[in-house]
């Protein structure tokens, strides 16, 4: 029994010693966690604040996240103002100077990404408009390369001795994206120009990459729940454009799209907006595999 306890204690010490050498990374979303793991491999220990099936705009800033952030070497954020309602408060409460904005451990993955829907003026009368542009840029796999580069740059700042290792992983990631992109593009090519309806305005990068056309949104304005008049408008658009599919996300209820489905026969499909949205989406590549297969299935 005594030997057993000693063994367990030694195992604990051994585990903590191994963890101590790893770079402790906290990401805001599960997609960033997945890409950080692919670049950092066994040199990083990554946790995500938001889960894959959670609305990244509305994460509750639980104090337990502060513990994670207080010990982090690196903080990876989607940036723009996606997490504005919760991450600034968590960061300032973390008392961790290593991950504050401007520090080496603060990585904004939007840097260098070509943004869509950048407003020229802001008026909240238009709903939840993002002042820097649409922040759902990770839903274009090509932007995944820029995200990975930003993460790689961040890891190199913290652990310059592993620069070659991270860059080799980045290269492998980019190669896989190129290969998979070819596969995804071929799969989606018959559906170029196909019109669909989306619940929330979060698919513009996916739309641009794969050539589908989002005709309208269930939300009359971003963040505003569907109204009866909007549903009437959507039903008419679905009928006049022979739209087969309404895409939504795991964190929105389907009650309003079900109404449209009943009236028109269009299917409501829940796509994954992040890694972990569904059990089969285990990494960033699975996210597109799942969404493309699911969308094609719906369109057929």
């Amino acid at each position: 029994m005594k030997l057993k306890i000693v063994f367990i204690l030694l195992a604990c010490i051994g585990t903590s010693a191994v963890n101590a050498t790893k770079i402790n990374v906290v990401t805001t979303t599960a997609d960033l966690k997945s890409i950080t793991e692919l670049i950092g491999s066994d040199k990083v220990d990554v946790s995500s604040i938001a889960t894959g099936y959670q609305n990244p705009h509305f994460v509750d800033p639980k104090p337990s996240y502060i513990i994670k952030l207080s010990r982090a070497d690196m903080f990876v954020t989607v940036g723009l103002d996606l997490e504005t309602g919760w991450s600034p408060q968590l960061l300032s409460s973390s008392r961790n100077p290593k991950i504050q904005k401007g520090s080496n451990g603060y990585v904004d993955t939007s840097v260098g990404v070509t943004l869509l829907q950048v407003p020229s003026s802001i008026n909240r009368g238009e709903g939840d408009i993002h002042i820097y542009g649409n922040p759902h840029y990770w839903l274009d796999p090509v932007n995944g390369k820029q995200i990975a580069k930003n993460i790689c740059d961040g890891l190199e700042k913290i652990s310059p001795e592993n620069k070659a290792f991270f860059e080799a992983n980045l290269k492998a990631f980019n190669t896989k994206i190129d290969l998979k992109l070819k596969e995804w593009t071929i799969k989606m090519s018959p559906y170029k120009g196909v019109k669909i309806i989306a619940y929330h305005n979060e698919w513009c990068y996916f739309e641009q990459r794969f050539g589908i056309i989002i005709v309208d949104f269930m939300e009359p304005k971003p963040g505003i729940p569907p109204t009866p008049s909007q549903l009437v408008k959507i039903i008419s658009e679905v009928k006049s454009n022979a739209i087969k599919v309404i895409i939504s996300s795991p964190y929105f209820t389907t009650s309003s799209s079900d109404v449209v489905s009943k009236q028109t026969g269009a299917k409501t499909i829940i796509l994954g907006t992040s890694v972990g949205a569904f059990d089969s989406i285990k990494d960033y590549f699975d996210l597109f595999d799942y969404n493309i297969d699911k969308l094609i299935q719906g369109l057929n």
Binding site: I66, P97, I186
Partner: protein, 381 residues
């Protein structure tokens, strides 16, 4: 149809090319060969056009600025003027990081005096918070809401009810926001979140339990916050506070307080459903003369249900003595229905009844409309 044919052609074309053909072309053809240009052209035409390079919103060193309006209307019985309506308070907030070492938060209010109807401005809070102290410490200096319990640190517009619980109001009035220094320590506990806050402030000027002493008696406060993740959807918070300071009689009042909060919020549908149960209890020990001590008690408990994205219901009960009168007993019940149009606007209606063994029963109906313009920082969980 044209695009479909084009895409199909490209698909067939590429799938029929041996994997090493490009390297063969590179090795045998000149870079500007017509064939290579044609292939590049076809690849380009199969990709969506990229938008032109863009300039992001110009960076600014201006702080986050917001104005919150708080319109209220009320009906109360057993008072001379039964109906009242108007802007209860307007709050201007300026919040920003100062430099890599600190951030600053200022909240100015213009509030209406219910007795005179006149507006007067006040610095509700104005403080500097460090961001980079070692050992998980955080220092706050300035005027701030004391870290006692769950209600006191929160601005009234963020509470899910309009009228403050009687117990809280009887012991702390509109709350303790005082000038001084606050040191918070994130306890290195890997099992659950634990934060210890100690504060030393001048003492509030106008408060039922405490007064600003003319001598060297300051308001001393300690608060231990314990936060547990029961599951991904449920959390429990237990807090213990101790406050001691000068009272109206220039003697000492000591208050021990505890709070408990259970929250259930499904992670996946957290914008549609939630449930909160929150309670606080205050044990007061007030020295009112050299040989007389008043020990009194107050507590409140409320539940808050979110039925849908926009609809909330709060039911509250409060029992309370008064700081200098343990024989006074007040019981109050209230229900509040809140309709949250967006994160920037909410409308609430509340009914409340208070019975007391020293005053007539009081009934009131309150309406509150909160709206915010600009960028307002998130509130604590």
């Amino acid at each position: 149809m044209y695009y479909f044919i084009q895409a199909a052609f490209i698909t067939v074309f590429f799938s029929s090319i041996p994997a090493n053909l490009f390297s063969q072309i590179d090795s045998i053809a000149k870079p500007d060969s017509v064939l290579l240009k044609q292939i590049e052209q076809q690849i380009k035409s199969s990709e969506p056009p990229l938008p032109p390079a863009q300039v992001r919103t110009a960076p600014s060193t201006l702080p986050d600025i917001s104005v919150i309006g708080d319109f209220q209307a009320s009906y109360k019985n057993n008072v001379k003027r039964n109906f009242n309506a108007g802007i209860n308070e307007a709050e201007l907030s300026l919040q920003s990081v100062v430099d890599p070492y600190a951030r600053a938060d200022f909240f100015f209010t213009v509030g209406k005096d219910p007795a005179t109807g006149k507006f007067s401005e006040d610095l509700e809070e104005g403080y500097l918070t460090t961001l980079s102290l070692p050992a998980h410490l955080q220092l706050k200096v300035g005027k701030f809401k004391s870290a006692m319990g769950r209600i006191n640190p929160v601005h009234s517009h963020a509470l899910p009810f309009i009228s403050l619980p009687n117990a809280y109001e009887n012991y702390f009035g509109e709350g303790i926001n005082d000038e001084g220094i606050s040191l918070s320590w994130l306890v290195p506990n890997s099992l659950f979140y634990q934060e210890l806050v100690v504060q030393l402030t001048d003492g509030p000027i106008d408060n039922p339990s405490f007064s600003r002493s003319v001598g060297n008696t300051y308001l001393e406060l300690a608060h231990l916050k314990n936060f547990f993740d029961l599951s991904s959807n449920a959390t429990l918070e237990l807090g213990f506070s101790g406050i001691t300071g000068a009272n109206f009689f220039d003697l000492r009042t000591n208050i021990a307080a505890m709070d408990i909060t259970y929250k259930w919020k499904p992670v996946q549908f957290n914008t549609y459903q939630s449930f909160t149960w929150q309670s606080e209890a205050y044990f007061s020990n007030a020295n009112i003369s050299k040989d007389k001590v008043v020990n009194s008690f107050g507590m409140y408990s409320f539940i808050n249900f979110q039925f849908s994205k926009r609809l909330f219901f709060t039911g509250m009960y409060s029992y309370s003595n008064k700081p200098y009168s343990a024989s006074t007993v007040e019981n109050s019940y209230s229900t509040t229905i809140g309709w949250y149009a967006t994160e920037f606007q909410k409308l609430e209606i509340e009914g409340k009844t208070t019975s007391s063994n020293v005053e007539k029963e009081q009934n009131q109906i309150l309406l509150r409309w909160i709206f915010v313009i600009g960028t307002h920082g998130a509130h604590q969980y």
